[in-house]
Structures are given as C-alpha cells and as structure tokens.
C-alpha cells in the first residue's frame, strides 16, 4: 500500500500533474508515511525519471519545465512536515551566467533540477563578472560553482573566470562545472573545468559525482 502511494507520487511528478501530486502527498501523510520517505522514495524517483526521459530524448523542455514546477510545488507543500535535522541537503551549489551574457533559461532549468534533487542552490543571476564569482566563492561555503555561457561570443569568459579564481587563490576551494549551448567537453578540458554538463540532467548527475563519497 505504501509502495502504491509512493509509486503514484512518482508517476504524478513524471506527468507534471501538480494537483495530483499534492493530493497524493496528502494521502501519503494521512496514511502515516514519513515526510522524508515521501520526498526520497516518492518525489525524488519521479524527478529522476523525468531526467532520464529528457536524457533519452523522450522529454523536451516543455515536459521538463512542467515536471520541475510540479516538483517545486510538491517540495513546498511537504516542507512544513519535513524534519529539518534528518533532511540534509545533498550539497551547496552556486551558479551564474558569465559577463556579457544575459541568457538564463539554461541556468534556470539546471537550478530547478538541482533543487528538485536535493541541492541548496544560490543563483547569482546573469551577466556576472569574474570578480563577482570570486567574491561569491570567497564568501560562501559552496561545493560547486556552475558557470553558464549561452553564446559562442561569451564562451571565452568561462576561461577568464577560472583564471580569476586561480589568481585569487580560490580555485582549490571549489569544483567548477560549465555548461551552455556552445560549450563542449573538449572546451571544458581545455580551460581546466572539473566537469561539463551537456544538459540539466547531466548537470545533476555530474554534480553528484564531484562530491566526495560518503563512507
């Protein structure tokens, strides 16, 4: 029975059906299922499935966005019931679009997917200069910095930002991921990024892989 409810919850997230998701959370709570279990055994498998469908070319941006919004609504609905002590965030991520570039859809979808998968994300916004990234890294206790460039003409700023972090002796403090339409793995290797995410789902899986393994 518990498995059925949690399974239904996953399906509702995959289908991007917010009303059904909220209603199923209420049923789960009424049946005494622990809020943390609802999150980790119902909602998370749902949004992971969405990522897999996107990765497999069966889902596209509309479906990804709708399911992502359903997930956000579900987490907001469940949040008051969650035991904060036992629900640690996966990791802390800071992200921004580099200077000269004000595109933000790619970055926003990555943020949505990271948050949906348990990350605490700080969004610096768009058109962020290398020194602003340095300040953020210095001031915060982040695991990963995500840099986004959506234009061929702003791609070189990814390199400049990494160099600025090196000059400020901050490079060793943080793992760096890059992404955006013109960016490739080859380019990530060339400029010394720790990982390249070709889409929002790969951003999540590679971010997880960059974290130190818990024993």
């Amino acid at each position: 029975m518990v498995e059925d409810v949690l399974g239904n919850l996953s399906v509702a997230v995959v289908e991007g059906d917010t009303a059904q998701t909220i209603a199923t959370i209420d049923v789960a709570l009424k049946e005494g299922i622990q809020p943390n279990d609802i999150l980790t055994m119902g909602l998370f498998p749902g949004i992971r499935k969405v990522g897999e469908l996107f990765n497999a070319g069966e889902y596209y941006l509309p479906e990804l966005i709708v399911s992502g919004k359903t997930m956000q609504a579900a987490v907001n609905h469940l949040n008051p019931f969650i035991d904060k002590k036992s629900s640690q965030k996966v990791g802390k991520y800071v992200i921004g679009t580099v200077t000269g570039d004000v595109h933000d859809i790619g970055k926003n979808i990555v943020i949505m997917m990271l948050r949906s998968n348990g990350w605490e994300v700080t969004d610096l916004g768009v058109d962020i200069a290398p020194e602003q990234f340095c300040e953020a890294v210095k001031a915060g206790d982040f695991d990963i910095l995500g840099l986004s460039a959506l234009l061929t003409t702003t791609m070189h700023v990814l390199d400049e930002t990494i160099k600025a972090l090196e000059d400020a002796k901050l490079r060793d403090r943080i793992k760096i991921m890059i992404g955006g339409a013109p960016v490739t793995q080859k380019y990530a290797d060339k400029i010394g990024a720790d990982a390249y995410g070709r889409d929002a789902w790969e951003a999540v899986t590679k971010a997880e892989a960059l974290l130190p393994r818990k024993s």
């Binding site: 070319g57 596209y60 709708v66 000269g100």
Partner: protein
C-alpha cells in the same frame, strides 16, 4: 558559363541548380568588418567583398525601440518586452510583454505598415537591386512569441498546460510577420530568410509532435506568402535538427541554413538525404575554425563543404551562424577567397 549577377547566382542555387559559381552571403559583426575595411559603410563592405546577397535584419533595421534606461542599456522592444544589451551588443529580453490573459486581451500589435521600418530596405534596394540579392530577414514566430511575449519558461509551460495561449500569441506575431514580409517583397526583397532556432546543440526545444503543432505551421504560412509573390525563402535554425528535418522541408522552404556543425550536423549527410528537395546553406564552422583555426584550415574546410554539398548546385556557402565578433578577420577573408578559388562550376577540388 556566362557570369551571373549575385542575385541570379543566389536564386539559381535556391532553385537547386548550378550557378556559375557557389554563392556566398553572411551576417557580419561591425568589429570584423572594420578590421577588414576600416571606416566603410556596410554597403561598401558588401561591395568590397563582392557578396552575392545583403541581409536586412528585422531586429536591427526595422523594429522600433524605446530607450528605458540608457546607463544599463535597456530598451523596450516593439512587442513590449524589456531588452538588455550586453557588451557584445546582443539584445536579450529580461522582462516580457505578456504576464496575464488581461495583458493579452488588451494587446495591440505594432504597426507593420509604419513606413519608418522600411527606410534602410529602400536604400538597399535602390543601391543593389538587380545586382545582389536583397534578403529580407524576419524573426520566427516561435522566437518572438517565446522571447518577447511570454518568456521561455512560460511559453514552454503553456505548450503543455495552455495551448490556446500559445496559439493566440503565435497568431499575433504571424499576422505581423506576414504583413511585414509582404511589404518587404513589394519594396523589392528578392529572398526571405527566417531566423529563430528550433533546436539546441544536443536536443530540440520541443518534441517533433509539438514542433509540428506549434512551430512549423507558422513557417508554412510565411512560405506560402513568399511563394505567392514568387520569392524563395530560407529557414535558419541552429542545433541538431535531424528529428525535424522532414517537418521543415515539408513546409516548402527553398533553403535551410546553417546545418550546424557544432551540433553534429553533417552537410554531406544532409545533401544525400535532402539535396533533391532543398538548397543547403552552410556550414563553415564559426564556433571553432573561423575563430581559432589557421587560414589553411579555413581553406580546407571550405573545400570539404564543397566536396560534400556543392555538386549539382543547390548550395550556398555561408558560415555556420554568422561572422560574429570572435571570428578572426583574416579567416573570414580566407573563407571568401577560398569560395572564389574553388567555387566555379564545374567544381574541381583536386
């Protein structure tokens, strides 16, 4: 073969025939132009490079804007969106025109018949008509509806949850574009080019089903209009479009641009599959070769494109997006020279 004019060359290629030589046009960033021909106007640059077509861009040459914040370089575009310009002088909407059904109900379309929109086109027609192809560019309905009207996220969400809203917005933009393009053709445009990407490097924006439902019908209407006035039409889209190539071809477009090599699109494969149906415009890599390559690498890539796509005609040699500010000026010059050196029909590369 008798030497053709630029416009004849372009039109012949678009009707999938062999002109006297492979035609070339492009969109050029000012910094690159200045490096090649300092202190010249765009028209002078077009003549200097002997380009076969000249593009009149709707966003730059025909849309109207109102300055909102000069210090932050923010303007309101003609649709009502706030657009911020970056250091690269690229305008990207940061606040959208439509936030609610109420905004949409009270919406009035910008006037496509405003004579101010056509000033530069008229000048270009006066100077180049009959000599070089006058190319009227319009931004795709999908692009304007998504970027200026609703914003990407709201547009994509509406595709799933509120298709009527998407239809409504698409209709407003399409009505404008049809009237705008009709005016351009009546003034003297020889070719229409519709920009606006349907895909990203690794994926389409929306599924093939949604592409057929929301994207290509508007394109088909613009094709219908252009053809009714005897003007060919080129569709531009970056990204990997293999899954929707048929859908684009089925709209009746005469050419497709730029067969994005950064997204893994091979122009030889496109020629093999679609060369009988459509003219291919592409695809000298402006993400890599034109930015970081040597002159020799550029020449080699031009030859490679010719080898794959020029035989039998139906081919226009263009960069894989535009001659943007990151392109090395000497590489663009080398690209044009290579087109001239190797592009005479019958093509002989070895």
């Amino acid at each position: 073969m008798t030497k053709l004019s630029g416009v004849e060359r372009m039109l012949k290629a678009l009707s999938r025939q062999e002109p006297d030589r492979v035609p070339h046009f492009d969109v050029h960033n000012k910094k690159v132009r200045e490096a090649i021909l300092p202190d010249a106007s765009y028209e002078e640059f077009v003549e200097h490079m002997d380009l076969d077509g000249i593009m009149v861009l709707d966003k730059v040459n025909a849309w109207s804007y109102e300055v909102v914040d000069e210090s932050k370089n923010i303007k309101r575009d003609q649709w009502g969106a706030l657009v911020r310009y970056t250091a690269e002088d690229l305008g990207v909407p940061i606040q959208f025109a439509i936030h609610s059904q109420r905004d949409l109900d009270g919406y009035s379309m910008p006037d496509p018949d405003d004579p101010k929109r056509y000033k530069w086109l008229q000048e270009v027609v006066k100077r180049f008509k009959g000599e070089r192809a006058i190319m009227a560019h319009a931004t795709d309905v999908f692009d304007i509806a998504k970027e200026s009207f609703l914003g990407d996220e709201a547009y994509f969400e509406a595709i799933v949850n509120n298709p009527e809203l998407v239809d409504h917005v698409n209709k407003i933009v399409l009505d404008y574009n049809l009237r705008y393009l009709k005016n351009c053709i009546e003034i003297g445009a020889d070719i229409v080019l519709i920009s606006g990407d349907y895909a990203m490097t690794h994926s389409l924006f929306v599924s093939p089903k949604h592409t057929a439902r929301f994207l290509t019908p508007s394109l088909a209407r613009m094709v219908e209009l252009a053809h009714s006035l005897n003007v060919p039409i080129i569709k531009h889209t970056d990204g990997n479009i293999w899954k929707i190539f048929d859908l684009i071809v089925d709209t009746g477009v005469d050419g497709i641009h730029p067969i994005d090599p950064m997204a893994g699109m091979d122009i030889g494969e496109a020629k093999q599959k679609y060369g009988q149906k459509i003219c291919l415009c592409g695809n000298i890599n402006c993400g890599e070769t034109l930015c970081w390559g040597t002159v020799d690498q550029v020449r080699k890539e031009v030859k490679e494109c010719f080898r794959k796509a020029a035989h039998g005609g139906g081919y226009i040699c263009v960069s894989s997006n535009s001659i943007h500010s990151g392109v090395k000026p000497e590489n663009y010059v080398a690209m044009v020279k290579a087109i001239r050196d190797y592009g005479n029909y019958p093509i002989q590369l070895d």
